[in-house]
Symmetry: C2
Amino acid sequence: MTMHEVAARAGVSIKTVSNVVNGYQYIRPATKERVEAAIADLGYQVNISARNLRRGRTGLIGLAVPELSLPYFAELADSVIRAAEARGLTVLIEQTGSVRERELEVLSGQRRHLTDGLIFSPLALGPQDAAALHVDFPMVLLGERIFGGPADHVTMNNVEAARAATQHLLDLGRRRIAVVGAHEGETVGSAALRVQGYRQALEEAGLSVDPALVGEAGLWHRATGADTMERLLESGVEIDAVFGLNDALALGALHVLHARRIDVPGQIAVIGFDDIEETAYSSPTLTTVAPGREQIATTAVDLLLARIQEVEPDKPFVQVVTDFEIVVRESTVGEQAS
Amino acid sequence: MTMHEVAARAGVSIKTVSNVVNGYQYIRPATKERVEAAIADLGYQVNISARNLRRGRTGLIGLAVPELSLPYFAELADSVIRAAEARGLTVLIEQTGSVRERELEVLSGQRRHLTDGLIFSPLALGPQDAAALHVDFPMVLLGERIFGGPADHVTMNNVEAARAATQHLLDLGRRRIAVVGAHEGETVGSAALRVQGYRQALEEAGLSVDPALVGEAGLWHRATGADTMERLLESGVEIDAVFGLNDALALGALHVLHARRIDVPGQIAVIGFDDIEETAYSSPTLTTVAPGREQIATTAVDLLLARIQEVEPDKPFVQVVTDFEIVVRESTVGEQAS
């Protein structure tokens, strides 16, 4: 199997196949799709180890994420691995545990000789760490804790997506929408941005934000979602909907509502954020925001590969904001959705 | 912070602290616990990089697992990372996708210069690959697809645990117990061993195994669990309980039973296997087998560290079988459990 055969099947030049395989950025999407389809159809395998040896590369890229026990990051890792594999790269994953020191260690490049580049999703770095983001190896950043860091950057559209999630609840006639997972006093990061989207939607609907409805939860786990839901219910505040700032929080909230025999969505509608696989199987199934996980993974790998291969060394760093969509399931509209 | 202070606080010698920190095997559990508590209390950090440099080591260990999008493996990875971290090691994770070629590549040692040793959970290797398990680097194997491989080995007690799971259903008066996730014709691996435990329990109860109750599912995902449950229900066979051979399968089955408004556990009781976090939050919560995940992780890291440090180079390879327990939740005994 050779690159010639791929080129013939895709009806393009060998140079174009080479550009696609090497992650070159400026290829028309239709052309790229045709080449990728031909590669898939023919089962063509890039002889990556020979190529890497020639170029002094390892064929490995690093992926540093906060916590694999959070399904979002486990599923993101899976998507990155698949995207990398399609480009002949192997991924080594490191878990930082959302510990600032560990995140700084990742940036210090102690392990840079192991891999050709890094995809990094920081969660604990603060504005004071911005200087550490200046690294001398290829890196793509994911998420919000970037602080103008000098690197290519892929992020979700947190504000708009959270606004759309809240709007979905408003469209269903809900007016007392609680938030589960806010981080008081935080101005950067996913929590702050998603709460901002929630506020925007309420304000556009002419509603004011009731602070009693904004539930804090430091970690975004099922257990903390359950605790926050308990506290909100105990407070006696009127609630007709819940926006879990991620799916784990929303699933924890669902668990508490079920235990208290509160009908979902009859009494309280619930929406999450992330579209982890579990949301399609919970009872009721969970309406959520699909934040473009596959797009995040493929974009990050393509950007990193272009930097590794120095396709355009002087290209300014780019920020890519992924598309999102609301996935409507039973927890907001009842069994009609199933 | 020095090792002296840890020794003083734990009331042991510095040599003992050193042994614990270096993962030496023959320390009394109570002593080990005291030292670990002192380390945790004092926030003592092993100066691992200096130590490794001195010894020509990287301070990194590899963990190769089939799929991080399966919560069991994501949570196992998390446990291994935490156990390794407590011993001053960083874990690099690789996903094999249950592809035999990828698993063989892991064994080929192409990346052995990156790490000091490997914890490897194969899923696709067959008996014909036994020779490949002879490697020249420190390795600990997890799971069942070992084929007498020459390495330290940590495994669950699959047969006994599955027998206990089935016995739990029998004790509740269930007699028509379906299996979700069998692999027809397979004689090695988790599926075969767990079905064997199921058979043993039924036979001990004087019941025969009804082949119509044994549902196949190649992959052990939520989606395949749902499909298999659908097929079993469509077949019209009488069912009063379901044993999902892992939690993902059981959660897929629960989803189908919920959609069909079949009461769990009233009409059909459901038990899973793995005790992933999600099982404590599903509706109903899922009774399952906790297979000793933390024990698997800490044992594997300790065994690997002892091999890396050549504590006892000639020590014969050991097999450790972990303890299990049945975690009883709503899906078998109803809401009394919550």
